[in-house]
Structure formats: C-alpha cells, structure tokens
Symmetry: C2
Subunit: 434 residues, 2 copies
C-alpha cells in the first residue's frame, strides 16, 4: 500500500538538508520526496494520507551496539567498579535468566526504542537469539543480530558455539523482508583466544557477513593484552591478517592511538561510539572527533540499559556530541548535523544495511515524526539543533519501518505497552528470587 | 489549606532514604511524613487528598545558575567558538530584546522548568528583573534573583547599576511569602574591575545577602587574569579580603586547583556545577568529585538554554554524574544519591534557602511527583537509580511549591502553555527582524 505523509519538515540527511513538503512511500521504499503540496492527482492515487501538521520527518535512528537480552537489569546495579558490577551483579542475574525473562526484557527494550524513535538496532547476545529474531519479525523493527561468543572454554565448546552462531546467522540473514541481517561476533580479545577469533573471521569471510566485537573499551583490558601478547589488541588482529576481506564493526574503541585510526580508515572499518556506557562504567571517552576527521564510519550505540540506563538515542546523540566538545575543549567539534549523521546514515553503513538512513528516493522508508509542540522545543525553527540538543524521545509521535507504522500518535501498534510494563516487573522479581 | 498526598514512595533526602506512605502539608510546610496509610481521623480533617498511586515523591529540583532572560535564544546558535558565539550571535540579539520579548522567554523557561520538576531557580540577568519578580510571584515558583552587573564602564555607570541592583535586592528579598530571595551579582572577574567587585561585596555584607559570580569558567579567562594581575582570580578575591563575612555562590569553577578547593571549603563557599553548558561551550569539566570529597556545597545549574539547550534538571543530573565518572575513570564517583543531593538539599544550601530540599517535617512543601509508568522506568523498583539515570522530565506529573500545585497531571495551573508556545515564536521572529 502506498502512504503519503504531507506537511512535514523533512530532515533528509542528504542535499538539500531540509525540505518542507511531502514523501510518498511505495512498497516500503521512498518513491518521492518533494517540497510543497502533493498534487490532487497524487492524492487520489495513494492508499493512505497522513497530515504531518508541521512535524519533523527524519530517518529512524540506528543503534549500533547493545545487548537487549539484559534489559531487565536496568538500575539493578550502578556506581560500582566494573569487575564487581559484572561478577557480583550482572553475571549472577544473567545466569538465572530463562527464555521467558529474556523475552520480557527484549519486548520492553523494543517498546522503549520505538517510543524514542529508534527503528534499527544491533543485538549481540548469547541467549535465545532465534526467539528474538521471531519477535522482531512480528514487531516490525529492523535489526542486525548475532549470537555472541565467549571463547574461554575448551575447543569443542568453542566449535559448538560457532556452529550455533553460524546456523543462526545463515537462517536469519536478509530475512523478515530484509529487515533482519546477521553478523558473527567474538565477544572481545580479552574473552576470546586469538585462534578462536581467527576461526570466526574465516567463517564470516566465507559467509560474506560482517564481524562485530568489543575492542579497547578499557585501559585495563588493553594493558592486559599487551602483557599477555606484547601487542595492542588492534595491532594483534592486523598482524594476524584478520582485518581485510571482511567488514568489521568494533564497539567502543576508547583506547586507540592515531596510528590505529589511520589503519582503521585504510581497512574501511566501522566503530560504534557508546558515550554514555563508556562514561557510566568509568571507561573514558572514545576519540570520535579524530575518527571523524580521518573519515572513519562511526555509528552510535547505547550498549545495554544496565550501563546506560536508557535506550533513548536522542539522549545518546546529545551526550555524545557534548562530551566530544568538552573533551577537546572545542565547541565546534561534532556539530549537530554530524551527530545526526552518526545516528542515521553512518549507523546504517556501520551495520551494512543498504539504502538506509536517508530520506531519498530509493531508500528504505524507515522514518520517525517528531512533534515540535512542547515548550522545550521553542522557538521551533532550529530543527537540526533541536534534534540533537533539545529533543526528548517522548517528542517522537510516529515511527515507520519499511513503510509500515509501528507507532502512531505515541500508541504502539505491534507491542502491548501495559503487558510489557507488567511483565518486566514480574519477570525481574521472578528471576531475582530464583 | 491542608493537603494530604498518600500512597507514594517518598525520596526524603534524609534518613530513612525512602518511605512508602504519605505526607501532610499545612501552611505550605510538611507537617507529617509517615510510612503506611493515613488514619481515618486524619483523612476526615484534611482539606484535600491526593492519591499518589505509587508515584515517587521527591523534593522539587533546584537550578543554581541560569539566565532565563535569554530563553528565546535556544538553538539560535550552536557549535561556534565562544567569542564568535557571543559577539556574532548572542549579544546582537540580546541588545534588541525588549520587555515583551524577555517576558515571553521567561514564561517559556518557567513552563519548561515546572514541566520537568524544577521548583526553585537562580536568575542572574540585567534586564527587567522587577517584571520577572512580579511574574514569579504570580506563577508561584521559588527563585533567587539578582540584577547582574558588568563593570566595563565609567564609575558613574557602575554606581548606577549597583544602585539598581541594590534597590531590586531590597525590594524583593524574602518577598512573595518568602519564595523570592535576592543576591548581588558582579558578572565575572573578567568583566568587573577588582574595585567594582569590592564595592559590590561591601554592599552585600551590609545588606546580609549572598554574592553570585561566574568564576574560572574557561582556561582563557583565567590565563588573561593571570597576565593582567599576576594572580588567579580566586586568589585575587581572597587577597582582597572579599571571601569572608559574606555567602558566595560561584558559577562554573572549572579551572580551580586543589588549594583553591581547600580554601573554598574554609570559607564555606558554594559552587554551581553546570556540566552541559561547560561541555557545549568546550570549557571543560569542573572537578566536582574533588569538591564533594572536600565537603564543598555543590548545586547544579543549566546555565541558559542558549548553551544547553534544555532546562530539564533530570538531564543535567544524569549528565553531571556520568561525566564525573568518565573524567575520573571511576564508576563509583558521584553516585546517584549524591547527584540527587546536589539537585535538592545542596542546591537549597547554595542559594541559602532555609528548610528547603528535603521531605521532612518543618521543611517547605516544594515537591514533585514522578510516575514510574513508562517503559523506560521498568523494572520500577530502583527509585534512586532511575531518578538519576533513567527519568525524563516528562515523567513528572505534579509539581508543588509551598504546598500549592503548579502542575497537575502534566497540566500547568498558573501558566498558559499554548500561549507560551505561540508567543515564544512570535517574539523570537519579531526581535530577529528588528
């Protein structure tokens, strides 16, 4: 069915930056993006007309790193050193989680993302990935999914995990009308021996899918790798010849030198910047200003709500831009439009989704409407500025993926909010008392 | 009239930290704070009963630094170097502002603050302060007001400004049933010659009111002061004997050494931490972790929306806590409850309001209700964590100042939201085209 959204300020993420007019969607793609009013002829042809009433239409936001399977852990523990936080709080709870609990958390996460304008996300987790893929197919979001692998185990166990990860990746790659893609994901250099990472990369090359991994999140982990192998983990991957002939998306990349960034650019690698999680866990601040200057592809991610504690990408964009300015002592760093690119078109590139992240003919019709009606968005004419520095997730009124509405006037169409709120609390308590 | 709020989780900011029960308000003060259910006898006596339905009741947030008179400048300019931002964007617009424009901006600012749970704020500005005081009296907020003075002018002009500031401070101190207090406010050491600051401090001592001033916001300004006077601006104030026998509240304090912090503690001075503004303008990060360790009184402020771009103190608390963790590489720094203290009881102390910032018998009944109903606050039991790391200003449903409601179920009772939105845009355009 064709859909026409008229009377909107379109933030295109291409040239021109802003168009006041309408978009026509056919078969889940943008067919026309035009200024002014649609013709009567066009109006008579379309299946559905939405009057945008002066709202802002922009590409749906793209969250390039996270673990939605941990969503019930929001607020479960804060303000602890990383190892105590993991060992005393996160892992004991995660070990008790079953399918029902993980599903409740993920439904909550999807609802939160849709309600704050995210249409596409990455999920790196080890539990019940098939279950999640089925739910995503029903709910209508777009996602890059992977069965995360920790390699601190016997070879046979490593191979079993890799088999599971490959099977999942094969079964779901480009499924759900192309809304689901997959990757292979060694957890991190500090949890996967080099030869296991090598095995995984070989398989990813063979399957022509990308690899996602945590890299250089903390100084501690980089130092430990240097002690153990005498080399920085990035240099180690390069020395092993693992960086070419495959698309890499690294999460974090806080502890990287200039020379690493130069070589990342040569390999055309992508990085997920996760500013809030990196701050909250005391890890530090990734050198995103330099990454962007060197032309690297940088997406933005929330990581899990256990270390954030929200999935609202508008928060992440604002914080991500502000912290770069503060860190570099330069207010011209990471300007509003660059932050928006990170959250849209560059996120799509990082995840290797084609024709995603712009409002342009031939692109996927994944977009959100933001109503500039609240006091905190006045005066309302500074659209690009407000989207990064003033908009709240709650200003999002409508969300579409592949031309299909998932949120209308803040009503979730494919998820049951009351049930989600109820079950998130029920399941959290049940697992806690297990 | 007495008001009873029952069935709420009370975040007291004293011991015990959380009480599930009710509060009774008489004559604008908390009369009873109790766990459990109110007795039938009590219920039969009170004028008004509000069923809190499991909401969280906490002290109204306190914003210790800002310039609401600049509110129309939200999004007017971002991502520019400070001097170009000021000289090309802020000052030309401000020079054209008249009473009507400033009022429209301030009405918008008050609406935004109430809608996001702020009950008390500081206003440092040079224009139409009487007008604002009258509006605040009508609207029902609590505020510390001051006519800001820049001293880069002939002595006669300095004295005229000081006369105006003193007159305003006298007329409004402890007015509006005590909701309004005043200070004297030299703008900054880089805009006020030392002898002018001395004159102002003498007057503040004479009038027994505090002094508020920007201090050490940027490295540039501190370096310039060193060049001109051969001394750090804080040391300069101390050398002149201006730090004792008066309450100082400094804004920013980004460039202070340990020795300064030690002496600030000796003088029992207060600091307003303005994390977002300091990041956005590329100024840096105040050493709040060390300030708190040394026992300094630290409040939190948004500065103006021109450099923020929101007045939502929940955003400021979250960002303020996160950036300290990231800066210090220590996740245990500035924990959630310390951030909340900064936004409530310590803010009250910084502004020298008595009996403000706690939910306790004998304290001013300034409080907000937060509804933990939205998806992003689930599981809902982690109240202190969620208030800092997950709550949005939009989760605030009700706001009371001195026992009187200003917001009920997100409806503003003393301001007209539609008119404010309309006028903010009208006035912005009018001044722009002037």
């Amino acid at each position: 069915m064709s859909v026409l959204i008229k009377n909107v300020s379109i933030v295109t993420m291409t040239e021109p930056e802003l168009v006041y007019g309408y978009v026509l969607i056919k078969d889940g793609m943008f067919h026309t993006v035009n200024s002014g009013e649609p013709t009567d002829e066009l109006i008579s042809e379309v299946g559905r007309i939405v009057n945008g009433q002066g709202k802002w239409l922009l590409p749906g936001l793209i969250n390039t790193h996270g673990h939605k399977g941990m969503a019930l852990l929001r607020g479960h523990s804060d303000d602890l050193p990383l190892h105590r936080w993991l060992e005393e709080k996160m892992w004991p709870f995660e070990a008790k989680q079953d399918r029902q609990a993980v599903r409740a958390g993920r439904d909550m996460a999807m609802a939160e993302m849709i309600l704050s304008g995210t249409t596409t996300f990455l999920e790196m987790y080890h539990l019940f990935m098939d279950d999640f893929a089925e739910r995503i197919e029903e709910v209508g979001m777009r996602a890059s999914l992977m069965r995360s692998m920790i390699g601190l185990c016997p070879k046979s166990e490593q191979e079993a995990k890799l088999d599971e990860a490959k099977l999942f990746a094969k079964q779901w790659h480009k499924k759900a009308s192309g809304r689901i893609q997959t990757m292979l994901a060694p957890h991190a250099p500090y949890t996967c021996p080099p030869d296991f990472i090598e095995r995984i990369v070989e398989e990813a090359r063979h399957m022509s899918i990308p690899v996602h991994m945590h890299l250089a999140e903390t100084q501690f982990e980089v130092n430990k790798h240097q002690e153990q192998y005498g080399i920085h983990p990035f240099d180690h991957l390069e020395e092993m010849g693992l960086l070419s002939n495959v698309h890499w998306l690294f999460a974090h990349g806080v502890y990287l030198e200039d020379t690493h960034l130069d070589r990342m650019k040569e390999y055309d690698l992508a990085v997920s910047y996760n500013p809030v999680s990196n701050l909250k866990l005391g890890s530090g601040v990734a050198r995103v200003d330099e990454m962007l200057r060197k032309g690297l592809t940088v997406g933005i991610g929330t990581d899990s709500v256990a270390s954030n504690n929200t999935l609202d990408l508008f928060e992440e964009l604002r914080m991500g831009a502000l912290i770069q300015k503060g860190q570099s002592h330069d207010p011209t760093t990471l300007q509003a439009r660059d932050a928006l690119k990170m959250g849209t078109v560059n996120g799509a590139k990082a995840l290797q989704f084609e024709n995603l992240g712009k409002i342009e003919k031939g692109y996927e019709a994944d977009f959100v409407l933001v109503a500039p009606n609240e006091v905190h968005l006045q005066p309302k004419e500074h659209i690009i500025s407000h989207l990064v520095y003033a908009t709240k997730g709650t200003d999002v009124t409508d969300v579409y993926v592949k031309g299909k509405p998932l949120l209308e006037n803040r009503e979730l169409l494919t998820l049951d909010k009351e049930r989600i709120v109820f079950e998130a609390n029920e399941e959290y308590q049940r697992i806690l008392q297990k």
